[in-house]
């Protein structure tokens, strides 16, 4: 595939995995789409393969596979290669693993230099040289330093010979403790020869062979660039996505596993759209390095800017009202709240001081710290607010259940709160990463549009978040309003993500660091 058409390949993959016999049951893509489209014209799935739902710029194709599908796909590949090469399936499997499941390269090399390929995978048909256990007079094992005429020894073709006990213990450690399978090297010093499964069969016990097989299945996924295990703990699914490493400066490939976990196919971290993987990595490193400077930010209490009484933040909402003097202010910038709901709201924007203000080195470094803290503040705040929103939701949910049983409302009628909470979590996740993104963004004519989108989403989120702090007995009457605000939030999120992704794809953003 040429790198020129890489972005097209993201959308339309010619990979055979997608076109397999079970490709009609597209799993996993649903979870994110629940709130996304407020246009009702799409309706429910049409179950027609050629009708693809309209896709947003920030979405990528992906497919989720369960263990059985992974196994059967593996088997299909083996069968196919077996037919082409005329080798038994067992040998074909070894050959495929040896070439890291690169079918095309295997077939090409096999046609070119058959004996060499077989030899390299430990399948040479030279019977005299095939590995076996032997007693060798005058031999001393270089691992345990034991010797003796009755000692059984083993060596592969490389002739790195050790006693059978040591060989066994070596393999056992690799398989059991280090979880290696397809690429265990000969124990010989500096030798890169792979221990083939024929040799393994001679040396290991049945239970180890089973573990070995299990690990081989895992390597099938590990070896393929377009397959990845879902990183959620104990998750058994693997996700396929055609996005390649080299695409990662142009796209942020968020995928959604059947276990509900959304993660980045590029780096396996939790969904971090709109920030590209490289920026996320740099940002997390920076936050770790500067954790001391930034620690005070996570504090849950601040002073009212007017009367200085202590104010605690309970929910995710940034609109604070002092209990004592009723002063309304913004938790983020401590500015007057009344200025926030209007068009000159720019709490999200960092105002660079003009060059003359920051001439000397000290002032410059102070400004760069201020700049970092501006973005870190907002990043950390959304992380924290997402947690607080969730706490409040869990409390409300409990009360809603009570309300439900006393008022006779149906379960389905209180689901709007659940949708609202999920939308809020998702939007805050996105907002959080917009600040890491903005930190690395160099100003150009697009920056303002980005900041406007960010601001619009901020306001939508604050409006919805505020609803969650209302007393439970009011929630039912606010249902319509909450649903509207939920829809609006989701819409703002889609607009922001779409615009950012589109410009990333086109290479329109300028960053103040390299995207590698």
């Amino acid at each position: 595939m040429d790198s020129d058409d890489e972005m097209n390949s993201v959308v339309s993959s010619e990979d055979d995995f997608m076109a397999g016999p079970d490709s009609e049951d597209s799993m996993g893509e649903g979870s994110d789409l629940d709130f996304e489209d407020d246009e009702p014209d799409i309706g429910f799935d049409t179950h027609e393969k050629d009708v693809k739902p309209a896709k947003h710029a920030y979405e990528v194709d992906f497919k989720v596979f369960g263990p059985d599908e992974i196994q059967s796909h593996q088997d299909r590949q083996i069968e196919e290669v077996s037919n082409i090469l005329g080798q038994p399936p067992e040998a074909s499997a070894i050959l495929l693993r040896h070439t890291r499941w690169n079918k095309e390269r295997l077939i090409e090399q096999y046609m070119d230099k058959r004996d060499e390929v077989l030899e390299g995978a430990g399948l040479g048909d030279d019977v005299a040289g095939s590995p076996r256990i032997a007693k060798v007079p005058g031999f001393t094992c270089d691992i345990c330093c034991e010797e003796g005429p009755d000692m059984e020894t083993f060596a592969m073709k490389c002739e790195h010979r050790f006693c059978v006990d040591c060989y066994k213990q070596y393999l056992c450690g690799k398989i059991k403790e280090e979880g290696e399978a397809a690429r265990i090297k000969c124990p010989g010093d500096g030798c890169n020869r792979i221990v083939d499964s024929k040799s393994l069969d001679l040396l290991v016990t049945t239970d180890l062979k089973e573990r070995y097989q299990e690990l081989l299945t895992r390597t099938y996924v590990d070896d393929r660039e377009n397959l990845k295990w879902c990183p959620a703990p104990n998750c058994i699914y693997a996700v396929e996505c055609p996005v390649k490493k080299r695409d990662l400066s142009k796209i942020v490939p968020t995928v959604h596993c059947s276990c509900k976990h959304s993660f980045c196919f590029g780096c396996s971290l939790p969904d971090h759209q709109p920030a590209p993987c490289a920026l996320v990595k740099k940002w997390l490193k920076k936050c770790e390095d500067d954790s001391e400077t930034a620690n005070w930010i996570s504090a849950n209490t601040k002073e009212c800017p007017k009367c200085h009484s202590t104010i605690e933040k309970n929910g995710g909402c940034n609109h604070m009202t002092c209990r004592k003097c009723r002063h309304e202010f913004c938790w983020m910038c401590m500015g007057v709240w009344s200025e926030h709901g209007t068009s000159w709201y720019n709490c999200n924007r960092f105002e660079e001081k003009s060059g003359s203000d920051a001439r000397d080195a000290q002032a410059k470094s102070r400004q760069s710290l201020e700049r970092y803290l501006h973005y870190y503040n907002r990043y950390a705040n959304h992380e924290q607010s997402a947690k607080l929103d969730k706490d409040i939701y869990l409390k409300s949910e409990k009360k809603m259940t009570q309300l439900q049983s006393s008022s006779g409302m149906s379960w389905i009628e209180v689901q709007f709160l659940d949708s609202a909470s999920q939308a809020l979590q998702q939007c805050r996740q996105t907002l959080k990463w917009t600040y890491a993104f903005a930190y690395y963004l160099a100003r150009n004519n697009l920056t303002e549009i980005f900041e406007d989108n960010q601001k619009d989403l901020e306001m939508a989120v604050e409006n919805l978040s505020e609803m969650f702090e209302k007393p439970v007995d009011q929630l039912q009457s606010l249902k319509r309003e909450i649903m509207d605000k939920t829809t609006y939030c989701t819409k703002r999120r889609v607009i922001l993500l779409d615009d950012t992704a589109e410009n990333l794809k086109q290479g329109n953003w300028e960053f103040n660091v390299a995207l590698t």
Partner: protein, 154 residues
């Protein structure tokens, strides 16, 4: 299967024919799994004049698992962690690179060679590695200062 035969053999070899500028002994005569290595800073290196105490700990499944190497004397070096552990973990000391026939003699030689020529591309202390690459003079000065301060003869 016990590895003691192998360990005793290695110990005999190292103590009877130690690599230049080193001295090896057991910390406790009854435990062959903990070795103390006294290493003189090589003449041609910035650590010249220093005397470094290293601890080589052999895991219970040695030689199938690599030994663990710790600098007990503080040292300014990109490949030695600048903490109370002073661990060095690269090359053959990594479990995926270690092969059971590898010998402790080779480990000691590797540590000594790393004092002569650090490996900044495989560093634990990335800041020191960056300095080593971009500002060699400053690196050498600090390394010498630390050697004088922490590794002078007691």
């Amino acid at each position: 299967m016990s590895a003691s035969k192998r360990i005793v053999k290695e110990l005999t070899e190292v103590t009877s024919n130690p690599p230049a500028g080193t001295k090896v002994q057991l910390v406790d005569e009854s435990d062959v799994h903990v070795w103390e290595v006294l290493l003189d800073g090589p003449e041609q290196s910035v650590y010249a004049g220093g005397h470094f105490k290293l601890l080589l700990t052999l895991p219970k499944d040695y030689p199938f698992k690599p030994p663990v190497l710790n600098f007990q004397t503080k040292i300014y070096h990109p490949n030695v962690s600048n903490d109370d552990k002073g661990s060095m973990c690269l090359g053959m000391l990594r479990s995926d690179e270690w092969k059971p026939p590898n010998k402790l003699m080779a480990v000691i030689n590797m540590a000594r060679n790393l004092l002569i020529e650090p490996n900044p591309d495989d560093a634990v202390e990335t800041a020191i590695a960056d300095q080593y690459k971009s500002n060699r003079q400053e690196f050498e000065k600090t390394a010498r200062d630390w050697t004088k301060k922490f590794a002078g003869r007691k």
